[in-house]
């Protein structure tokens, strides 16, 4: 039996370990790929130029999506501003929880969709957006809604959107490098092979580079998903810290998972933002260990059982 502070502490440590692992892995992968690039192109300094270009590409695209994340996501999912008369419960619950969490009141949006779900976005607490579907507002009672909104507010409070943006810059960088590596390999010109000794070392580095080019985009994505799942657990614990009513979030999660209708407004790019996977698993919760590695969200049954321990 852990109390809520221990859970949060444990989550924080696990989350920073995974994030550290991710960055160490990124540096190693980028190092080897750039070395291989260097050998391939015939200069020993390493392909800093390629890393630089990849960083610029991946950085700019993610920075734009980070800085305008709220607007982009809201446009993609077709959300509209919540109306304080029509969505009175939503507005007052969000306001109350902000008082409790000590956050400025976020902008509230609503998606017209009967599938119950919610997400938070925005680069910092001052630009935060919380969006819920009308199905969520209809199906949940006040206590359950409080649990869901508090979960979203915890994402805002933990700067999860910022973290996931930085992580996706790195994933994008690695993916670009791996991609270019193969293009250069097949279509680029080779260096002249005159020095036999250097050639051997070059061959080894080439092989390592190829292995990294093949595997690292997948591994980086897997670590990214692990971070995403860890942040979901953190937000669940944060929700309980604000409301002190795990039962609300538990029954909300149960209701959300019981509903098997997929959310039309969600796509792969926005899936990790939602409180529960918007596509719903077709297997009905009995997905295997391997498939669960590719999920943005931990299985709901596991989340509920962790919440139960906090109750």
């Amino acid at each position: 039996m852990q109390n809520i502070y221990e859970v949060q502490q444990c989550n924080k440590i696990k989350s920073s370990l995974i994030t550290a692992l991710f960055f160490v892995f990124s540096v190693i992968a980028i190092y080897f790929m750039s070395q291989a690039f260097g050998y391939y192109n015939g200069y020993e300094v390493g392909g800093v130029g390629y890393v630089g270009i990849a960083l610029v590409f991946s950085g700019i695209s993610t920075f734009i999506s980070y800085y305008y994340s709220d607007k982009i996501v809201l446009t993609i999912s077709g959300a509209r501003l919540a109306n304080s008369k029509e969505h009175k419960l939503f507005a007052s619950v969000a306001e109350n929880l902000c008082i409790g969490a000590g956050l400025p009141k976020p902008k509230l949006y609503v998606i017209e969709d009967t599938a119950p779900n919610a997400f938070a976005t925005g680069r910092d607490p001052d630009h935060a957006v919380i969006c819920v579907t009308t199905g969520l507002l209809e199906k949940l009672n006040r206590t359950e809604l409080e649990g869901v909104i508090a979960h979203e507010l915890s994402h805002v409070k933990n700067y999860d959107i910022r973290l996931m943006s930085i992580v996706s810059v790195m994933v994008g960088l690695i993916a670009l490098l791996g991609d270019w590596f193969f293009r250069a390999r097949f279509f680029g010109g080779g260096r002249s092979r005159d020095n036999n000794n250097d050639n051997q070392l070059g061959a080894i580095i080439m092989v390592v580079g190829i292995i990294f080019a093949i595997l690292s985009p997948i591994i980086a994505t897997l670590i990214q998903l692990a971070i995403s799942r860890r942040r979901e657990f953190m937000a669940d614990a944060g929700s309980v810290q604000i409301t002190r009513q795990p039962a609300g979030l538990m029954s909300a999660l149960a209701k959300i998972s019981a509903d098997h209708e997929p959310l039309e407004a969600a796509n792969k790019a926005t899936a990790h933002l939602y409180i529960a996977n918007p596509f719903k698993d077709k297997a009905g919760g009995t997905i295997g260990w391997f498939a669960s590695l590719f999920n943005t969200h931990p299985p709901i049954t596991e989340r509920i059982s962790i919440l139960q321990k906090m109750a």
Partner: protein, 186 residues
């Protein structure tokens, strides 16, 4: 020269750490003060809101209450076996006026809204207290835990009380009556 540089860097890091811990304590204190004001703010909102809501709902309810009273009068007469047609027709004519002016009888939703408002306002007060309690707890934990307690002692940051609650008393004991599950009588 090298050792001097290392010492200098270590010193700069140390000073930076002391400054950041000091700033944590000072800003926490300011936030706690603001959160206490927020409690006052919410209590004032509640004090302004509830009596006004009460009187407006009362005004609405008297409208329908008159009719209900007339109907129950009539029912009493019927149960005694007396002729209640006069009372019923009186009640009906009153009912007609009410229904004409409000196509739906709204007392139900009016009371429901009042109940929602009551819950909402007490939630707001509760959450503003929650923030104060959480902030003071963070401050107090940091004040006693190693190594930030060194800075706290250096600048004499005192323990803050948070929400003042009696540390002994009935709320910490369970009496025999409280062990039984409560029954609701309406």
């Amino acid at each position: 020269m090298n050792i001097f540089l290392i010492i200098l860097v270590a010193f700069v890091i140390l000073v930076g750490w002391v400054i950041s811990v000091y700033n944590f304590f000072v800003s926490s204190k300011a936030r706690i003060k603001a959160s206490i004001q927020e409690i006052g703010n919410q209590l004032k909102r509640q004090a302004d809101l509830i009596p006004n809501l009460e009187s407006s709902v009362k005004g609405y309810l008297t409208h329908e209450k008159g009719i209900l009273e007339m109907l129950s009068e009539a029912r009493k007469l019927i149960s005694k076996g007396q002729d209640a047609s006069k009372q019923i027709s009186d009640a009906l004519s009153g009912l007609k006026i009410v229904v004409e002016s409000n196509p739906e009888l709204k007392a139900n939703t009016v009371v429901e809204n009042l109940m929602n408002e009551l819950r909402d306002t007490s939630d707001k007060v509760m959450y503003s207290r929650r923030l104060m309690i959480d902030l003071t707890a963070d401050y107090n934990v940091k004040r006693v835990s190693v190594p930030s307690n060194i800075v706290a002692n250096m600048f004499k940051f005192d323990e803050l009380k948070g929400l003042e609650t009696a540390e002994v008393g009935e709320h910490l004991t369970v009496s025999a009556d409280e062990m039984k599950s409560p029954k609701v009588n309406l």
